[in-house]
Amino acid sequence: MTAAVAAPGAIVDRGAVRRQRIIGIFYLLLAAIAAFVLTSGIAPEATSTFALKPAGSKTGLDIPNLVVPSVVTLYAVAALCGFLGAIQLVRGFGTRWAVVLGIAVAVFVFGFLTWAAVGKSMSLIGILQLTVVKALPITFGALSGLLCERAGVVNIAIEGMLLTGAFTGAVVGSATGNNIVGLVAAGFVGAALGTLLAVLAIRYRMDQIIAGTVINIFAAGITGFVSTRVLQLHRELNEPQRFPQIPIPVLSEIPIIGPMFFSGNIFLYALFVLIGLIHYGLFYTRWGLRVRAVGEHPRAADTVGINVLGTRYRNVILGGIVAGVGGAYFTLGSTGSFVQDMTAGRGFIGLAAMIFGAWTPVGAFLASLVFGFADAVQARLSILNIALPSEFLLMVPYLVTIVVVAGLVGRVRAPAADGRPYEKE
């Protein structure tokens, strides 16, 4: 009985210690990249210019461009990252480590953009505007997933629902010449796929991830089939009118925020309304209380007389509508015509945004902005002709998703009954 016993104060979680150490080394790595890799070959007097006013904008307050000395900025970024890394390694940031991680990555990204914009002018406001644009369908997807998963059904079919929504919006919008009809039709088709998912997952208690995968493959196949068979011959069926931009008076003139959030089209404003509604509904109404009860502990909900399966059906169909409408954005709100597989994984990224946002609507939106930003930077940098192959830039949103999912799952809590079929007996 002589073996060493740790002092009571030395209670530590070995896993957490290792994680803290890895993060600290990561900060130092960022610092090293900023100081040694990014600064190489830059003239000391070079500057990077960031435009903060939308190109061609005549109204609004006049804000000057942000011009920074490139090398100094990069060294400052490196110093800051190194400083954070040193503190992290020496004593850590305790419970605020996640916030610090966010700050460090943001600082480094700024350094990266500085490097990319050396001797050039980069439209920062353009990137931010594009961030919102790219985040939009991702948020719709995340909200769709959220509606389903809060009730305990995993919806991995968001991708297929978005794709089918995009297709339906384009075709019906073109055929009727009315893009609102196209939007409504996309919602209906989304509801149909939601119903299919609900029937497979709830009625037939099929593995929910497989059910979702079936819908994704089916959606890819049927949109591909019809666009090859029909749309290639009848191009007039794939030329819908797009929804116009509607800048909101006064609000759209606010610097930076205005062009980002108040100069979009109907989809953006619909999204804001939807986020508000779902947030309010989920946390402040009877509907939300019951939905969450069904997602957390369906048997408890059943024993107080709540219709568990009915609640699940309703929510999955609602989720389908949201994803269908969000999908229509790809065609009616963005490019105008349908292209095969045009959603390119945005539905899955939406799912990751939902997890990143801890199954809350506002969180999902903020998370989508992160993914949207990665997407936007990628799109802008490939124009700037920098020394990175475009394929690697195109990987960025997917890699960010992997990092986020790996870093956060297990730390945010999913609804307890997520993905589990409910059986009465």
């Binding site: 196949g221 899955f348 997917y398 079929p421």
Partner: protein, 431 residues
């Protein structure tokens, strides 16, 4: 869990000696086990009906996507319907003869006695075997994942990375005899896929990241990676500006089964892989661990197994098998790499694994069926103008019907003797 599901093939084989030998007479409540033939027939019923139902819905889609059908429907309903049925008939006819050959061609070829003509009559079957080869591998990849409780949607990406590696060994290594070069290229393909499978495996084991999201994201990453590689000097074919690799050396190709046909020994490598995986899963300690982790990770941990180790190893083998599918294409069909070589073979693997209920030997039949669909699709499109995507739709429907057996039983009013539950292969986000 149904009884068909948990009695694995090995035990089925050994059942006659083992049953009832427990030293005590079985309780009277125990029903006599159904005969093996009856079990086999019952096991086949759902897949067969699933394929039939999928084809019927496919036919409806063919009709509904014909705009002239609607125009004629009001004026001449009879003629419109007749034409519609005709177009379905010719599409499926083309599909079947493209996959199996037409009786007429066989008769004619044998009557002529000309060996070249006989061989070319067998071309459709050869094409089916050829198309089935990568499908066996991707089906096995997904099935192995299922057995370990993992849903590998990333076979597509793993296939590409395997193909990149195999192609590189195929053209960069020269001067070797085929019996060294081919195995080397195949091993490279396996390794490439295994590396791509390692990533979701280690992320799942160490951070809990759900393999479904990670593998999907890695699929997209792999597409970009292939596009990048195919433009690298030294990998891109000389004198080409489009993304295409150099041509692999003939010594790295799978030898044909019969000279003049494209079907090759890759198919037999696939069969060998089926038996190897079957042995691994049911006759080895590793497989015991995989399946225990898949069924009940906490009991596996209780029993001293390494969940992380099993997860990583299973994902690597699964990825490696998908990588072998890549070799089936680049060393067996295209002989060089382009960005479009797979076209969803990884996703077909999901359908095949589900149809075979994740059991290795069932994979062979499921892969042959889907291979036939793939082989027949191209002739169908060229003969009737029905796009190949129809096959994707049919496959999605097959998965749906197979994964929800109750659905098929409901449609065809099949009664099941005992209560059956759901087959749950995957887990929620938290696990």
């Amino acid at each position: 869990m149904t009884d068909e599901q948990h009695v694995d093939p090995v035990i089925e084989a050994d059942l006659p000696t083992g049953a009832g030998s427990a030293g005590e007479p079985p309780p009277p409540a125990a029903a006599a086990p159904p005969s093996r033939l009856a079990t086999a027939v019952r096991g086949l019923l759902v897949p067969v009906l699933a394929v039939l139902s999928a084809l019927v819905i496919g036919a409806i889609i063919i009709v509904l996507s014909d705009l002239t059908f609607f125009e004629r429907l009001s004026a001449d309903p009879g003629g419109a319907l007749g034409d519609a049925l005709g177009s379905v008939w010719s599409a499926y006819g083309a599909l079947i003869s493209g996959a199996l050959g037409s009786p007429g061609a066989y008769v004619e070829a044998f009557a002529s006695g000309d060996s070249d003509q006989i061989i070319s009559a067998f071309n459709p079957i050869s094409e089916t075997l050829l198309a089935a080869t990568p499908l066996i591998f991707t089906g096995l990849a997904v099935a192995l994942g299922f057995q370990c409780g993992l849903f590998n949607i990333g076979a597509e990406g793993q296939l590409y990375v395997g193909a990149v590696a195999a192609t590189f060994v195929g053209f960069a290594v020269t001067g070797l005899p085929w019996f060294i070069h081919l195995p080397l290229a195949v091993a490279a393909g396996f390794a490439g896929g295994a590396i791509w499978g390692f990533v979701p495996g280690i992320l799942k084991a160490k951070t809990g990241a759900h393999e479904v999201i990670v593998t999907i994201m890695l699929n997209y990453t792999a597409y970009r990676f292939v596009e990048f590689i195919l433009k690298l000097p030294g990998y891109q074919r000389e004198g080409r500006s489009d993304p295409i690799s150099k041509v692999t050396e003939a010594s790295s190709w799978y030898p044909p089964l019969i000279e003049g046909l494209r079907a090759n020994w890759g198919f037999f490598l696939g069969l060998a892989a089926v038996f190897a995986v079957s042995w691994l899963l049911f006759r080895s300690t590793k497989g015991f661990e995989f399946r225990a982790v898949g069924f009940n990770p906490s009991a596996a941990r209780y029993a001293g197994m390494s969940i992380a180790g099993s997860t990583i190893l299973a994902m690597m083998i699964s990825g490696g098998l998908a990588g072998l599918a890549g070799t089936g294409i680049v060393l067996g069909i295209t002989r060089s790499l382009t960005s479009g070589v797979s076209a969803g073979l990884g996703f077909d693997g999901i359908a095949i694994a589900l149809m075979a209920r994740a059991r290795p030997r069932g994979i062979i039949f499921a892969a042959l069926l889907f291979g036939a669909l793939r082989a027949g699709a191209t002739p169908m499109q060229s003969a009737t103008g029905i796009p190949i995507d129809l096959v994707v739709v049919v496959q999605a429907l097959v998965i749906m019907f197979v994964a929800a057996p109750a659905l098929v039983r409901g449609i065809y009013r099949i009664r099941v003797p005992e209560a059956t539950g759901t087959e749950v292969f995957s887990k929620g986000w938290g696990s």
